[in-house]
């Protein structure tokens, strides 16, 4: 357990110093800042436009950063052979993978939290000068929380693919899964309407087996101040954590068996 924590914190420290992460950080900062600042507000639509744009940008950047960072880490470490000295210590490969996963989650969550904070500050500050603004609303926070859960789950999916294949293959696969996972509800409804049994079962299978990122997406609800119950928040949290744990178990099983050449 100590090894896991050690590896996680070490990973975060490295990420903070790494030039790639620093550049991404600055990029994300500028993107969030400039999109919301450059919007021409009309008084009546301030909240809606601000929410749409702000959450939209964060909702686009955070999975992109997650996939980029999450699929690169393990393959790069195997290719550069930095992994040799670490797994030669008395730590299991599973501990290594979980430690690396946590370190990566801390890094990406850190990026998302900074983007979110920037968004919320703008909402509050700009909102103060707009006549009909209500400022930060609970549904904004719910949407951002959903994005954080998405990052936690998506990183695990990245690690599952990256524990077995190259960065190229895994980033493509995870990107596909991400989009399918966001259409989960639509696919389910669509398949249910089908007259073919095969399609109906396939639709259900996809719905229950693949990660359901749709369930974690509250951006549209935030735009219309459509409230989300506490019990739903609890249930998506449980869903995310359980699914993440399951994916990590599979990833460690694959990782324990592979050769580092």
């Amino acid at each position: 357990m100590n090894g896991v924590l050690n590896i996680a914190l070490n990973g975060f420290r490295e990420a903070r110093r790494n030039r790639v992460t620093s550049v991404l950080f600055v990029f994300a900062f500028i993107m969030v800042f400039s999109t919301t600042v450059s919007i021409e507000f009309t008084v009546a639509t301030f909240d809606r436009v601000m929410t749409d744009f702000g959450l939209g940008v964060i909702g686009l950047l955070s999975p992109a950063l997650t996939i980029f960072l999450g699929t690169a880490l393990i393959p790069r470490e195997i290719e550069r052979r930095t992994i040799f000295m670490v797994v030669a210590k008395p730590v299991s490969r599973s501990a290594f993978l979980v430690g690396r996963y946590l370190g990566n989650v801390i890094t990406v969550v850190f990026l998302v939290v900074i983007m979110s904070a920037l968004f919320l500050i703008q909402l509050e500050v700009a909102g103060a000068s707009a006549t009909f603004s209500t400022g930060i609303h609970r549904e904004h926070l719910v949407a951002l929380y959903g994005l954080l859960l998405e990052v936690v789950l998506l990183t695990a999916v990245c690690f599952l693919f990256a524990s077995a294949s190259s960065q190229y293959v895994s980033s493509l696969s995870v990107t596909c899964l991400y989009f399918i996972g966001h259409m989960a509800e639509d696919l389910y409804t669509f398949a249910n309407r089908s007259k073919l049994d095969v399609l109906r079962y396939a639709g259900k299978a996809i719905y229950y087996v693949l990660p359901n990122f749709d369930r974690l997406d509250f951006k549209a609800r935030a735009t219309y101040f459509d409230p989300t119950s506490n019990s739903e928040l609890l249930s998506i949290t449980a869903y995310t954590l359980a699914y993440t744990a399951l994916v990590l178990v599979f990833a460690t099983q694959i990782f324990e068996r592979r050769d580092f050449k």
């Binding site: 100590n2 090894g3 050690n6 590896i7 070490n10 420290r13 490295e14 110093r17 790494n18 550069r80 052979r81 930095t82 040799f84 000295m85 670490v86 797994v87 030669a88 210590k89 008395p90 730590v91 299991s92 501990a95 068996r257 050769d259 580092f260 050449k261």
Partner: protein, 315 residues
């Protein structure tokens, strides 16, 4: 007493998926080897002999095709097998955004060291590898020699009972090589077992008690270094002046004639007969000295006798 390392019939076959189909590379074939506690074993072999493969199998970096390996009696897949092992890989690549000290601390932490003990050990090994002046510098700014030293420091930090070193001196300057040699000697005095894999013969000859010669994935010779040096029987080199090579031909020595000077190499037993024959032919003996057999001869013999087997078998 359990051996530090015991390897039995270990075989590793890599499968490559090439465009033209699958190919099997036999990187290691039926290797049996053991290292007693406190012993220094040198594994000598040309590039591609299977040295790194053997090490990777011991550290669970790869899995054997058949056969078994034990480290302190435990299977390598058990993380506890590595509790008392320090490993210096070939061309080590530590995390480049960490400083040397941070990396060694990280390594010590993974080996279970904590608090004051960890701090003290980190300081001690950094001094031992003479890197205490560069501790605050990020590893990406290090030279090859500095990186090698930091990697050695992380191997030593937990006071290992077994050191596994893969080409520890390759690519280093004279000072770096000497430092690493000194450290290995010091570890040996402390009773640490060492597995030293190298293609540099003088290093193995100077440091190891036992040597195993690997060629093309196969063990071709093994035994104490002292036996390998004398296994051909002693030979002498004689230098004469004023005698023709033909007059001594019946005794079949190795001959090098430069002007009037004749240098002969022969078995010690034949030396007396040669000297008598030369004196009868009015030759003058200038010098006579024993030829010290180096491990290099044994190694070259082994390479020659395994002829086309250099490089591993590809099927």
């Amino acid at each position: 007493m359990t051996a530090a390392v015991s390897i039995e019939n270990l075989t590793k076959i890599y499968t490559l998926d090439l465009l033209k189909g699958r190919r099997r590379v036999v990187a290691l074939e039926n290797l049996t080897l053991s290292i007693g506690e406190g012993h220094v074993m040198g594994v000598l072999g040309p590039n591609g002999a299977g040295k790194s493969t053997t090490i990777k199998l011991l550290l669970n970096l790869i899995r054997p095709t058949t056969g078994s390996a034990r480290v302190f009696g435990l299977d390598p897949s058990n993380a506890e097998a590595r509790r008392h092992v320090g490993f210096l890989p070939e061309n080590p690549a530590p995390y480049e955004y960490l400083t040397g000290e941070e990396f060694v601390r990280f390594a010590g932490g993974l080996s279970g060291l904590r608090g004051a003990e960890l701090t003290a050990r980190v300081k001690a090994v950094l001094e031992q590898v003479q890197m205490d002046r560069f501790t605050g510098v990020q590893i990406r700014r290090y030279s090859k020699g500095m990186t090698q030293r930091i990697a050695l420091a992380q191997a030593l930090v937990s006071n290992p009972r077994l050191l596994i070193l893969d080409e520890p001196t390759s690519g280093l300057d004279v000072l770096g090589r000497q430092l690493i040699r000194d450290i290995i000697v010091a570890e040996k005095k402390k009773g640490t077992s060492v597995l030293l894999c190298s293609h540099i013969i003088p290093d193995v000859e100077a440091l190891a008690e036992d040597v195993a010669i690997l060629i093309g994935g196969k063990l071709v010779r093994s035994g104490p270094v002292s036996e390998m040096l004398s296994s051909e029987g002693s030979r002498v080199e004689l230098v004469f002046e004023g005698v023709d090579a033909e007059r001594l031909a019946s005794l079949e020595p190795e001959v090098i004639q430069v002007g009037r000077r004749l240098t002969l190499r022969t078995g010690a037993d034949d030396a007396r007969a040669l000297i008598e024959a030369a004196q009868q032919a009015q030759g003058r003996l200038i010098s006579m000295q024993p030829i010290r057999h180096s491990l290099e001869d044994t190694f070259l013999d082994a390479v020659r006798s395994s002829q086309n087997k250099v490089g591993s078998t590809i099927e």
